[in-house]
Symmetry: D2
Subunit: 255 residues, 4 copies
């Protein structure tokens, strides 16, 4: 594969799962950005070969757990970098991808469970702030059709915070509650209280509140739309060519 | 009692419980306001008569449940209006006060559990908004030394909202939660979810979140200090002379 | 027109401007609600008569200033109630509508510049709170494609607050600013400071902040979507049959 | 100086300016913390020697620009570490302190304009987030007795953000405003819009709002009290013994 990027052209991108909800948004975003160009949009029933024929340098995969591994093996064999938003990656699957990449040293793969830059930074900042505040709670707010409470992002944030507190030698969060109506103090996730609010009109929001003597620090993320993932996908598309091997999560690309 | 107010002078105020935390603040506030003047500051061991001798038109009582009823009977007998922040008023006690007042038609008494204008308006607006939104939740936030969760104000707000929803014929708040870590969805107060956040640095805060298709309305109250009750006490001091009989709560004085 | 509603059926609604952005949403909302049914969807080139033929009891008009007056005259003549979201109503136009209605005593017309229940309540509550707080400022937040700053809603809210303050005899908001970088303190609308924030990702948000000694009260409205107007349109559709004559604004329907 | 800390005892602290507003709070905080002990409280008229006599390992200086340089020279000569909150440090003064320290390699000095951990982290996170979002605005909120608008912290934050944007090659923040009431869009600090809200009841608050397609990230700091600086002072007291030379700002101690 000629590195056309170094030659100054836009990055040539192929999208797998191009007719899915997310894939369709990726096609639009790749099209709209000045430094990327959409060269192939592939979905169920289409030939993967179309991607190679079109000279794609990077593939973005928003397909399904059932087909993503075959897609990845093929991309790596072809020397095409991959950015993957498809879910279902176990440690075993990640190891398999690492194996494949070991045989193709120049190729990069970014697999991320969450391409929202705001959400990723919120978690990063929360983990960094955690050891400086004796108190911390999480309030996440979503539309009422959501099945789980708290959200996966809130649970993950709580665990990052709990780990940072443990590492810093912080004891339990102070709490004199003696008389509680069941549930008022939220769910206990590794010692961090998490509150899940559900209301019509909301989309996806999360607030991490830190407190110490006389002051609080709040980190809040509001996501209004699934297009909020697109800037993160583009960050990965731009970076993957310079990151041989496997990168898990958007985090390392934002530093 | 001569109505010196009509004669243009400031309202003459006596404070009972003047050396207590709240009473001391009332003394300062009455002193600082242009249209009120502190004429007597009485506490345990002092004679109530000092208040009448000083020509007080209005008494503010922040004492204790054990002495407040005797204070009130005496004030009403003397024809002195009273503004009462002391706690512990049962329906039975209120009826007793109404009885005493029946015999003194010109005298007014205001008894309020909460003199925070912001808190009272928050509850008033919440009750008014309730029937226009299919979703509603309450998030209250306090310092971690607080013993009860949720706060009395949050519980009271939830009940007002529940009553307004019932009156408007609204059904249950929509909530598809199927998989909940215990407590995540908060306490259930008459069908309204209430979340209690506790963190060092916080004072006393409450947010009522209403949601309907595509929009939310949030009413938030932040109290930073016990001096936040003083504007409400002054509202009552100014109004009580024109409200013969018993007034319960600050609400009717704010309309 | 037989009052089918009293006979227990859903309200029969015709939509004018049915293929426009807002009209299309109204069609969907009327269709989805249990107590309303869409009987006619009319746009440019269609015959108004279709609305009468379909037995519409209420017409919703989201058309243009150029045609709305003709539509209204026709509806009133036919004895069909009207809910109007079309803009451009001057005092002169409103008087004309009142004239037409005078000849048809049973017919109701609701004309509202804003059908967002949340926005209307925000303004209502702000006007009610205004005289109880010495400080008040407005922060509105919108997407960066917006041309005017501050928004029409923020300007209108500021005027309502200023009028309420004047009526209550409140003086100017306290402000010791002596050293200001131009613009830092916002726009001055009748003595109320208004700040306009613009950022990608935002939709339409407004916060009214009231402050007095030791406490603040915040009323915040977040609109995520133009569907946020639909609950307000339905409130008007349900109410207009019982409000003969002209009603301006959603306000009186929410009390 | 024997390192008593390594021997397991609490850090021995002397306070200069001990009767000042901030100094008095430092004395209380040092006294209250388990791992620090107050051994000398010195103010105008007292002998500095008392600090050495008491075996202080660390001095905290909240005095005045007129005396702080003499205090520092003396501490460094004595081999006592210093944590300085006194204002007025020019580059010239900092160079002088570096000179003195060059002759005493084991001694550490921390000079910080702001000991609020929350404020320092807010600025740090804002600088880190800046290059990932096309939009950013700052809203600071203070009591109405404040003379400058925007606050020094807001101006400093805006400059950090502007520098980060420039480094990342970001262009101007998008803004289509064509029709502005003067001041609505805030002050322009290096291309970042800053809004200063003033209201009775507020203490000191700042919000940094970042926006990109479909999402926003907000970092908010609320300071309720000057005691909010104490945790930061203690962080510096604990760290200064292990940081020979000059450290400017709390930032490097929080990483």
């Amino acid at each position: 594969m000629t590195d056309e990027r170094e030659m100054g052209g836009p990055i040539r991108v192929g999208v797998l799962g191009a007719r899915g909800r997310m894939g369709a948004e990726v096609c639009k975003a790749v099209d709209a950005a000045a430094d990327t160009t959409l060269v192939a949009a592939v979905d169920q029933g289409d030939e993967l070969a179309a991607v190679a024929d079109a000279g794609a340098q990077v593939v973005v995969d928003f397909t399904t757990p059932g087909v993503v591994m075959d897609n990845l093996r093929w991309c790596i064999e072809q020397g095409i970098h991959a950015v993957v938003g498809t879910t279902g990656f176990t440690e075993q699957r990640l190891d398999q991808v690492r194996d494949w990449l070991a045989g193709k040293p120049g190729v990069g793969v970014v697999i991320a469970p969450n391409f929202g830059i705001g959400a990723v930074l919120m978690m990063q900042f929360a983990a960094r702030a955690a050891r400086h505040f004796e108190s911390v709670e999480i309030i996440e707010q979503h539309h009422p059709r959501k099945l789980d409470a708290p959200s996966g992002t809130a649970t993950h944030t709580a665990r990052l915070i709990a780990a940072a507190r443990a590492e810093a030698g912080l004891g339990p969060v102070p709490d004199a509650t003696a008389d509680e109506v069941a549930g008022a103090r939220g769910a206990d996730i590794d010692g961090v209280r998490v509150h899940a609010v559900r209301a019509t009109g909301l989309v996806a929001h999360q607030e991490v509140l830190f407190g110490t003597t006389g002051e609080t620090l709040t980190i809040r993320h509001d996501s209004y739309d699934r297009v909020s993932f697109m800037p993160g996908v583009l960050v990965a598309v731009r970076a993957v060519g310079n990151r041989p091997g496997l990168t898990v999560g958007l985090d390392p690309l934002l530093d």
